[in-house]
Amino acid sequence: MKFKDNIPIFIQIKDIINSRIISGQYKMGQKVSSVRDFSIEFEVNMNTMQRALTELIAEGVLVTKRGLGNFITEDIEIIDNLEGSRINSVIEEMYNDLTEMGLSDQEVIYHIQNFMKEKRDE
């Protein structure tokens, strides 16, 4: 697994798991891997993995059932919020990068529209 090297790994893992939920790869109510299996999948140690899962549980994205493991929440509101905040954070990163280059808001919109137009024409 390749991680960005300047962002805490547990946060990057949270983002990956959240993305899997948003994309439907993980279904609502589905059981997810154990801490150990996840740590092997992501090639990180168990403490890092545990930290990511603990936060996802605190945020209500994962639900622990004693003795059974962790499950994706069945609360549709939490999943909707997840999607909203994920979209926001992706746009924010892009927006920050572009404004740092000196682009104005209008220019940002112009380039995005241009990009999408070229994408459609491909």
Binding site: D5, N6, P8, F10, E43, V44, N45
Partner: protein, 234 residues
Amino acid sequence: MSNLLEIKNLSYRINQKLILREINLEVQAGHFIALAGENGIGKTTLLRLIASVAKNYRGEITIDGKTKPEEKKTMVSFSDQLEGFSKRTKIRDIEKFYSQVYPDFSEEKFDEIAAFLDVDCNNNLSSLSKGMKERLVIALTLSRQVALYLLDEPFSGIDVMSRDKIIKGLLTWVDENSTVIVSSHHLSEIENVVDEIIIMKDYGIYEHVKTDDIRNEQGKSIEEYFENIYWEDK
């Protein structure tokens, strides 16, 4: 939480020459820790002292509350460089030696790791390349069931592709309640897998921190952060 490893005011000299000065360190169970520092800074010496291989130090090294070397040795597995064995020794015989000396050594686990690392146990020690010898050392070290594993530059002669495979293996072979300390000056290869880092500088410990805290607070990779510390005074 009590400490698995506790070092208090550790100083060490060889022939009047200062090697380590006033080291204080606390390590908990269940962590994966990088021990970083430039060559010759004393990483190997520190590991040898923790493993009770090197003696005559000043200060205190406690492992799980124990201070006697013979008690500590039962709790630490150190990557020995196999210098005590004759070159003609068969790997099978080294395995037998380990299983006799260490009651916690699992031949089953050794066979599993050795097979995973493509170590042919019918070979002599002398026929092994540097990288192959390092793989053997990793297999021997991790086949003991202990609270603390010390790996001293375990990958220096191993090619990058195999390193990735071995690092992944480390996650499966080591019990979750055990702690692993890996010394390395190539941090990029282990920085994702460790959750803490101990940085040595000027005969002592410069810092002992969580790797995710470095990424969070500095916005830097662990390797970048480490290099900055050394560049400061150059």
